[in-house]
Symmetry: C2
């Protein structure tokens, strides 16, 4: 009988190993996709390989013919590794042999090996399965992976437990019409707008929980900041002293994330020309005060004291950038009418709630706050909003049988990525976006 | 202006800190839910707190009256910490004061503070929001969190990049009728049965990718091993030498996961009485041979050489347990008719594919294999299966423009948890299961 061993030997090296110096002057073997095949004259050809963490220059002299190896072929190259200052990453391989593993049937529809790609968004989105091979596009989603990894690592270190909650639900957490309907066998069901109910339930179990998962919003907006499906990084924590504990937890995450990006994603940051934002000095301001400050500075009268227009949101971001040099600002105490039924009212001013948004360069990237934990209070608030508590029996079970003071938040991963990478459209920060007109690829 | 600090001081200690010895004989403050409130006579009361990582015994003498604090209240307790061999975790607090943060409106519907809960499954599932507070129930999902964490940690270390792919799709990856239909604005859409197409696309970008996310199967089975929504741990890797590279990667994950559980989840393993399976010696056997071995040993003639009945699967598991002491077995070379259109045929015997399942104690917990990377070959196979390649334009784009040899797998997180924890029903390994009859909670 054959048994597994748990490891695989390929004898092929990755970029970090090649750059380590250990193999300089030695014969090495690597695999990769032919990113560029450029005859330089005099029988010399530069074969650039795209590897998972960068590119590698391979130099072929007249003794190795690579003229029939098209770009985007998958190859294994063997040759002598040399330090070479002028090459990307400071190394190159003098090729002795090339083995072709696979060949494309057709050339790429656009040259992804150019430094800059100028495509209109719709064309790009249709070509995403192959366009993402472009180094800068690829770096955006490496950074996104880093932001997700930082979220989990930081929260695990803070005693949070990861949970997986259902996306097919019998009722939405956010209410309203922005919900997708589903045929669930013989019944009607919906797609979850948020893991809100479930993460609250799990606070009663683990005190602190998080989930990174898709959420679905049937919003009929077609804007550069809306997606109909996005990745929500949610956490919920019990035994809070106030909703400021949630704010501090998020700012702890942001600090951890920026350090992780600096440490492990430096090449991607450099490729995208990203300067990381200051996360050490994030101002905290009330909704009311933020509106007033922006209105005064930019001479734009407040039309509705209990609402926030997108332009006001941008102006608040602008104000804190200009006055405090801040990229992030926590805006607290949102009005009751802007918050769902589970938000806890501010006992000092019941027109407002113990909640907050985090704005990043003028855009909301997080909504959070303290939730109602008392059963009678939650039922009363539902009734005051015209809701029917009997439809929420399984949710209210946790309030009925005891819940600690708690709260949490949801971070839109794509929006955070978008703003961090300085992108203009959230679709550029989502691998395969879903919007009003797009279901493919 | 107020600024965030990134930290919160509560002055409250967690179990690990309490057990460290640093605070023995000192006054400490802790929070928790009242798991049990048991008057012992003579004015003495044992107040057991449920904390996120275990329970804590608090002893109240006559000077502190806790008789009016019901179970499942959230409290803050201050008192003297003492080492006490007979108490859970070897420590107890001699209570000086108790502050009640919140009280339940009603007692629990069942006593979750009992060591064993005997409820029928349907009752339990309806009560899940509060039943999960039971220590043993909770441990199942701690272990599940550990399995997910191990998956990401191990694969990150192996150079994999995390991706987030859409769950609302225009076509299913697995085909067939087991797919949920959705109203997507004015169009028809579906819920993803697997991230298959997307993870393959991303192999062309990052070489190695993984995703932990929900998948949806509209299967009309009502069995102890089927869920209509489950968490799939998927990976896909390029430049493989054969599909055995995928098998080795999975066995590397299993080794890493068992070590992590031993190290960080020992209390949960002990609470559930789990003996970890041997992952160092996993046999690999072909589909054909596995069927023959089981048929011979258990005197059950093979009815269809190209199909595998659930009882045969169980017998294969039984065979390898009895003969090799193995809990896991990789069964390779599944018949073409049992595998989807993207599976690569075995060039040595085109009735079979370069694919595998992993059986764990007689149940399939993983399906994987090598995929077709050549465009012409993929189109031909689609046609041979009666499919229309023009309907898969965005998927075939990657084959057309070049893909390395690649393959991958999907692990059902709930099934892996179920078998590891020795549970009889996969619903016991899913927080809020979705099945034919259940959409709530």
């Amino acid at each position: 009988m054959k048994f597994v061993t748990g490891t695989t030997e390929t004898g092929r090296l990755e970029l970090a190993e090649l750059k380590s110096g250990t193999y300089f002057g030695k014969e090495v073997t690597v695999h990769g996709a032919v990113y560029a095949n450029r005859p330089m004259g005099g029988g010399l050809t530069f074969l650039t390989l795209r590897k998972k963490d960068g590119t590698l220059q391979c130099v072929c002299d007249g003794s190795v013919d690579v003229s029939d190896i098209p770009e985007e072929s998958a190859v294994i190259v063997t040759g002598l590794l040399q330090a070479e200052e002028r090459a990307p990453g400071g190394i190159e391989i003098h090729v002795q042999s090339v083995q072709v593993l696979s060949r494309p049937a057709e050339p790429m529809p656009v040259p992804v090996n150019k430094w800059k790609l100028s495509l209109n968004l719709d064309t790009e989105l249709s070509l995403r399965p192959v366009i993402l091979r472009h180094l800068k596009k690829r770096s955006v989603f490496q950074i996104q992976a880093g932001l997700g990894r930082a979220f989990r690592e930081y929260l695990s270190g803070q005693g949070f437990t990861e949970i997986h909650t259902p996306k097919i639900v019998h009722a939405g957490a956010e209410g309203g019409s922005n919900i997708f309907r589903l045929e669930y066998f013989t019944r009607k069901a919906f797609l979850g707008q948020s893991p809100q109910f479930y993460k609250q339930m799990m606070v009663g179990v683990y005190e602190r929980v998080y989930e990174v998962a898709p959420v679905f919003r049937a919003e009929k907006h077609s804007t550069p900041r809306h997606l109909n499906e996005y990745t929500s990084m949610d956490f919920e924590m019990g035994y809070i002293q106030s909703f400021y504990d949630i704010i501090e937890m998020e700012s702890g995450y942001l600090r951890y994330a920026m350090e992780l990006l600096k440490k492990d994603y430096a090449a991607d940051l450099q490729r995208l020309g990203i300067t990381l934002p200051d996360v050490e000095h994030i101002p905290v301001v009330s909704f009311k005060e933020a509106k007033e400050l922006a209105a005064e500075r930019y001479h734009r009268p407040i039309r509705d004291p209990y609402d926030l227009e997108p332009e006001e949101e941008q102006n608040i971001g602008r104000y804190f950038k200009e006055v405090y040099g801040a990229d992030f600002v926590f805006v607290t105490h949102y009005p009751v009418k802007k918050r769902p039924f589970y938000a806890m009212d501010d006992p000092e001013n019941p027109k407002y709630t113990l909640s907050f948004d985090l704005l990043f360069r003028g855009m909301e990237v997080t909504t959070g706050g303290q939730r109602i934990h008392d059963y009678a209070q939650q039922v009363e608030k539902m009734l005051s909003k015209g809701m029917h508590p009997e439809e929420f029996e399984s949710y209210l079970m946790i309030h009925k049988h005891g819940m600690p003071p708690h709260g949490g938040l949801g971070i839109g991963l794509e929006r955070l990525t978008m703003k961090l990478c300085g992108l203009d459209n959230v679709r550029d920060a989502c691998l395969f976006p879903r919007d009003l007109s797009r279901l493919e690829p």
